[in-house]
Each structure stands twice: as C-alpha cells, then as structure tokens.
C-alpha cells in the first residue's frame, strides 16, 4: 500500500460510514440541536425584546402618571382659583347688591322724609295761614270795631282802586 494511492477498501468504508453518520446525525442530532439552539436564541431575543418593551411601557406609564399628576395639580389649582374667584365675585356682588339696596332704602327714606317734610311744611303752612287768618280776624275785629275805622278803611281801598 503506497502512501499516495488510495485504497479501495478504505474509500468504500469511509464513504459508507460518512453517509450513515451524515444521515443519522442529521436526523437525530443536528436537527434537534440546531432547532433547539435556534429556539433558545429566539427565546432569548424575545425575552430581551419583551423586557425592553416592558421597560418602555413602564417609562411611558410613568410619564403618563406624571402627566396625570401634573394635570391634576393644575386642575386643583384651577379649581382653587375658580373658587376664590367665585367667592370674590359673590362677595363683590353681595356688596354691590347691599350697596344698591342701601342706596335704594336711603333714597326711599329721603323721599319719604321729603314727602313728610313737605306734608309737615304744608301742615305748618296751613296752620300758619289759619293762625294768620285768626290773628288777622282778631286784629281786624279790634281795628274795625268802630264804624269810622271801617269807613276810613273802605275809603282807603276805594282810593287804591281809583289809582289803578
């Protein structure tokens, strides 16, 4: 057997062995091993992706939460502000109303006072008129008690009329 001349027997057995080993290993070893490795890699990749996604979701949730919180805070302050405004408005309105009411009352009161004053003045005037008439009557009665005085007076009056 020379070094460089292949022997038929070994070629035959090697080929046979290779084919058998190839077929057996392909079916019973490489297939399951390769698919398992692939599946595992897929699993790992999937897990990593899931983790990443969850992380992203968490971050998103967190930011959403923060946003919500901010919003709530804003809303609260807005509500507070509104309440304060409302309060101020109500107070102002109440004040305004009270003021107008008061003014109205005062005006009415003044009107009434004026009216009563006028009435009183009228009464006083009437009384004074009456008194004047009474006093005048009394005076006249005293002055014109004599017939001479009456005639003098009538003469005077007649003089006045002639003049006009």
């Amino acid at each position: 057997m020379r070094l460089l001349t292949p022997e038929l027997g070994l070629i035959f057995w090697t080929a046979l062995a290779f084919i058998i080993v190839f077929v057996v290993l392909r079916k019973f070893a490489w297939g399951p091993i390769m698919s398992s490795l692939e599946q595992r890699e897929k699993n790992i990749a999937g897990s990593l992706e899931t983790a990443e996604r969850v992380k992203r979701e968490m971050a998103q949730l967190k930011s959403e939460n923060e946003e919500l919180m901010a919003k709530a805070r804003e809303e609260r302050s807005a509500m507070l502000k509104e309440a304060r405004d409302t309060k101020d408005r109500i107070v102002a309105e109440a004040k305004e109303q009270a003021k107008t009411e008061a003014n109205k009352i005062i005006a009415e009161a003044q009107q009434q006072i004026n009216a009563q004053k006028m009435a009183a003045i009228t009464d006083v005037k009437n009384e004074v008129g009456k008194l004047v008439i009474e006093v005048t009557e009394k005076i006249l009665r005293q002055q014109l008690a004599s017939t001479d005085a009456q005639e003098a007076h009538i003469k005077g009056l007649i003089n006045d009329i002639k003049l006009s």
Binding site: M1, L8, W13, A15, A29, W30, I33, N43
Partner: protein, 412 residues
C-alpha cells in the same frame, strides 16, 4: 476581485504542478528508496551482529500506513522465534469469478503463510519472491499489506485482480470513533429534546459541543454561504466532527492514522466536490464557461476555470492528508531517533531521549491544535466553495462594491 481570482488560479495551477512533480519524483524515488532499503538492510545486518535491529523506515511506515491488524509490539522468544502482540482484523475480499471471501487476518500468520489462495505482501514475502527469481519490477509493484492472489507455489498470479474491502485498522478505528461521535451527539440531542439547554442551562458535553456548532454556524456557514446556510449546516457539521473525531483518535498513541490516509481524505474531498457541484447555480457555471473577461482571454480562462472545479476539492484532499500525515511522521521520527542513536550505543540513546521526548511532546501539542485547525479549515473551505457555487450575481456585485474582500482560499 480579478486579482483574487488570479491568485486562486495561480494557487490551483501551482498545486497541480506540485502534485504532478511529486508523483513523478515519487516514481523516480522508487528505485532510490529501494536502494535506501537495501542500505538500511545492511545497516540492520550490522546491527544484528551487535544484537538489536532497528529499521526506522519500517517503524514509521508501519505506523502511518493502513494494516490488516492492530500491531502493538513484537519480541523475540527464548528460541529466537518472533512473537507479535496483535489484534487480527477481518479480511473481506472480492475476486471477480470467485466471489467474496471473508476470514480473519490471523490466518495469514503475520504474512508468513498463504490462506485460501491469498497472501498478504510483507517485506519477507518480497525477499522470498526475489529468491525465487521474480523480476524486481514485478516485485516492486507489490505493496506492503496488499493482498494478492497466489498459486500453490506462493507466487502471485498477476492477472487476477483482488478487490480488498477488508476491515483494516483504519476502518476499525474510524468505526469506533464514529460510534462514539454518534452516541455523543445523539445523547446531546436527547438532552435538548428534554428541554435541557432550552429552558434551563446546558450541561456537560452540551457546553463543549454547543459553542462549536454555533461557531460553525456563525463563523463558517453564515458568512460564506449566506442566507441559504441552513441547508448545508448538517453537512458542514458532519464533515467537521467526522474529521475532528478521527483526527483526535489518530493522536492516541498506537492508534491508526485515519485522517492521514489519502483514501479517507479523498472520500471526503469527493463528497464535498459532489456537494459543491450539485449545489452550483447558473451564475457559477456562467462564470466558468463564460468568464467576464475579453474575448481573447476566454480561451485561456475557460480551461483554467474548468480546472479550478477540480483543484478546489483536490486541494482539500491533499491539505488534510499532508498535514495529518506529516504530524504523525514527525512524532514517530522523533521517537525513532532514540532507537537510532540507541543502536549506535545505548548511552547515546538514553542521553538523547530527553531531547527527543521534549520535541515529540512539543509536536504532539501542536498536533492537537492541528487536529482542530484542519477540521475547521476543511469545513470552512467547503463552505467557501459552496458559497462561491451558490452565490447570486447581484450579491457578488454588492460585496465588491462594499469593499468586502473576496474570500479566496489560500490556506495551506
């Protein structure tokens, strides 16, 4: 790209020339080596006078070549007869007209006797024939461990062709190695089936084999073959582990040198050749029969391209064979040096042994590396060639445009 192709071409041509010259020189060497043998025989005779013989040639080739038995050692009995510690192996012969013969190699009595009209060629048998007056040219055609049909006188019948399909020690060792490989891989696969390594951490051998499989997938198959890599994964994995386990088993002291045998590597080379050729697409054949070069150069390029179809697997065959054979020969040579010096004088032999062993250990460690590297290279280059045969035109162009270096195999 053109340069790369030229490079691969020159490598192929150079390899072919080398091959032609090497066979030629081998042929020329034959008479020379015979004279070497004679000279060495004389030396052995001289040594015999001293009381011990050592034939390094015989030891080295006895180790690296195939044989019909596992031979461990021999010793001389008290009455000078030879004892051999061997495991005989079955012999399976087919002779046209006579049919199949199946018997144990022990029937040959270490090549001393014929059995059933067959005889195994040994050194002593050839000397025997020489004594009988057979022509030297004819004797030289008979190779060691070859089984020939003989007549009743024990001379070979030259016109009878015997097909030797024996379970030689290479075959036995290959079967043992492959049985272990299959058992190992199926047990690992079974673990994956039960969910070990899938839902829980892989254990034991899974950890050893898994990275290798992933390496072949991610570093060998994917970059070289591309998106079709899945189809070729079983083949690439089988080639890799087939070579690797036989390389490793070949490193066990006293074991056969399976991967350093050209028959073994040739079979693998032919398998990868068939796979490459049958998976080749239109673009690949177009490149071979109508290369993109000016018309005049086509006449040169087409034969070269056709040649390259065959040089690729041929390079695979020679590379693995030569690497593994060389490693084994170096180790045995280094160990043999002790005995060569020991033949000169026992003191020198003992004195030289530490140096020799140190070198042998060094080479041994390298050989372990080489066992893996050669399995990887064979697989990688097969993947590269498959990738070349299956790549699409546009993909190729895109690669070139992106400045990706062409994957040209110039690995020794």
């Amino acid at each position: 790209m053109a340069f790369g192709r030229f490079k691969s071409l020159s490598v192929a041509v150079f390899g072919l020339l080398l091959m032609l010259f090497s066979t030629a020189s081998f042929a020329q060497d034959n008479p020379d080596s015979a004279s070497h043998l004679q000279r060495e025989d004389k030396a052995a005779e001289k040594a015999d006078e001293k009381g011990g013989a050592f034939n390094a040639n015989e030891v080295i080739f006895g180790h690296v070549m195939d044989a019909h038995q596992f031979h461990f050692f021999s010793w001389k009995g008290s009455e000078g007869e030879q004892h051999h510690a061997i495991i005989p192996l079955p012999i399976l012969l087919y002779e046209p007209g006579r049919g199949v013969s199946f018997f144990s190699s022990s029937k040959f009595h270490h090549g001393e006797e014929a059995y059933n009209g067959y005889r195994v060629v040994t050194e002593s048998y050839r000397e025997n024939l020489k004594e009988k007056g057979m022509e030297e040219d004819q004797i030289r055609l008979l190779q060691d461990e070859q089984i020939v049909a003989v007549d009743n006188n024990g001379t070979p019948i030259s016109n009878i062709k015997v097909y030797d399909l024996s379970i030689t020690r290479n075959v036995v060792q290959m079967f043992i190695a492959l049985t272990i490989l299959v058992l190992l891989m199926t047990s690992i696969a079974k673990r994956y089936r039960t969910g070990q390594g899938l839902t829980s951490a892989p254990k034991g051998w899974q950890n050893a084999v898994e990275p290798v499989i992933q390496f072949i997938r991610d570093e060998v198959a994917k970059p070289n073959i591309g998106h079709r890599y899945k189809r070729y994964m079983p083949l690439l994995l089988t080639i890799f582990f087939f070579i690797l386990i036989n390389n490793i088993f070949g490193l066990i002291p006293g074991s056969a040198n399976v991967t350093g045998n050209i028959a073994f590597t040739a079979t693998l080379g032919v398998i990868s050749f068939l796979v490459i050729t049958f998976s080749a697409n239109k673009h690949y054949w177009g490149h071979i029969f109508n290369p993109p070069v000016p018309f005049g150069i086509k006449f040169i390029m087409v034969p070269v391209e056709i040649l390259s179809i065959f040089t690729k697997p041929f390079a695979l065959i020679i590379r693995l064979f030569a690497n593994m054979l060389a490693g084994h020969i170096i180790i045995i040579c280094l160990v043999s040096l002790i005995f060569i010096f020991g033949n000169l004088s026992t003191g020198v032999g003992i004195g030289f042994s530490p140096i020799s062993i140190a070198f042998a250990v060094f080479i041994y460690v390298i050989e372990i590396l080489v066992a893996f590297i050669q399995a990887f290279i064979f697989t990688n280059l097969t993947a590269v060639f498959i990738g070349q045969a299956t790549e699409d035109h546009h993909q190729h162009e895109a690669d070139a445009h992106h400045g990706n270096p062409p994957t040209e195999p110039v690995i020794i």
